[in-house]
Assembly symmetry: C2
Homo-oligomer: 228 residues x 2
């Protein structure tokens, strides 16, 4: 799992002395650094991102990176912002419910496709305006659902927190509950008499089913407020 992969090709920094940009175009840019860091994380996870390794990918010594970022933290923040910007935002068309669900499923799609990048994006503190397209889309849908402003804000936060937690849980726990799942359950000394069937499902969860069912549960609560 730690073997070198194709992503690590040490692109020797070409002097590219063409008459492009005077001399500033020749050196590293923050964008290049950020994108290289994202590719590294995408392929091998956050643990693979070290200053020396990132420098190697860019054909430069580790210390050169400090000309463009104050420290490693700042690079990770930039990666998180970049990842955030790449999250899909479905169009503002259709029923509010399908718009919200489309938004959530799009985010989960990215989580499942790029778990390492998603983890970084969700784990780090990103300037709130980076999420503005998502916020606007969600609030607009909740407004169309007939919710007053305060309820819109609560609905957004609740759905956002749920989606984030579900996705992190799913990509972290993936493939863990293979068979050891029922062990804790059968040994249970706690009283589960009334709830044995439900407990079995809790110990062997179906992420696909849970994601949508949990989302529907939350949205159902909104429907109630709306109808009042």
């Amino acid at each position: 799992m730690n073997e070198p992969t194709g992503v690590t090709q040490k692109r020797i920094r070409t002097p590219r002395k063409g008459p492009g940009r005077p001399a500033a175009g020749e050196s590293l840019t923050p964008q290049e650094v950020t994108e290289a860091a994202l590719r590294l994380i995408l392929a091998e996870g956050e643990g693979a991102l070290t200053m020396r390794r990132l420098g190697e990918v860019l054909g430069v010594r580790a210390m050169a990176l400090y000309n463009h970022f104050p420290n490693k933290e700042a690079i990770l923040d930039a990666v998180a912002s970049l990842a955030f910007a790449s999250m899909p935002v479905p169009p503002d068309k259709g029923h509010w419910r399908t718009r919200i669900k489309g938004l959530c499923f799009g985010i989960r799609g990215m989580a499942l496709q790029q778990p390492n990048v998603f983890r970084v994006a969700m784990t780090r503190r990103v300037p709130p305006e980076k999420a503005l397209p998502h916020i606007a889309a969600a609030l607009s849908a909740f407004a169309d659902a007939g919710l007053p402003p305060a309820a819109q804000a609560v609905a957004y936060q609740t759905v956002r927190l749920y989606v984030r937690a579900h996705c992190l849980w799913e990509i972290e726990e993936l493939g863990v509950h293979r068979d050891g799942a029922s062990a804790g359950f059968t040994h249970a000394t706690t009283d589960l008499s009334k709830t044995a069937a439900a407990a079995k499902m809790v110990f062997a969860p179906d992420p696909d089913r849970q994601f949508e069912a949990g989302l529907d549960l939350i949205l159902r609560g909104l429907q109630v407020s709306k109808e009042r």
Copy 2:
């Protein structure tokens, strides 16, 4: 923030040669190691837990710890399990709704009181049977609410994921939105015409209010299923 605190007193390992336990009682136990690690994290955060530092607290060299744990990961897992065990589980009395809310507020209370420990407990993968008391209490309440088993399981997972995400968000973001909050909002080029009031709340959230309102939103959805 990294200054030495009172917790770090280097307790010189007393030979305690009394007629207590034969000779096994003289050496370190996994419990001692785990508890010392928890105290260190409680006071100074996960970043302060290094093998050398932990050894110092226990009056021993770092390498001695490897006689009781295979590696640092295992120590952190033990801390997470210990923290999990210390989470409050309210009695199975009263209306299902107040029981669920009591459970959730108890967890949030620990998150706010011991954020560093809570973060470790929530971040690491803990054997599911460690949460069994909480699972049993929650499922029992949802059963009393009249939910069928599948809905009990979904309700549990949804509430669990929401509470976890809210608490991690709250302890991470605490004190961040002091004034820079409205900046991203006022600069917004995205269309927020219909949702300006809600957006303002999103950018300056009230954690207390959000926690309970989000929880109520989810539980309201349950009420609907029940009444069907």
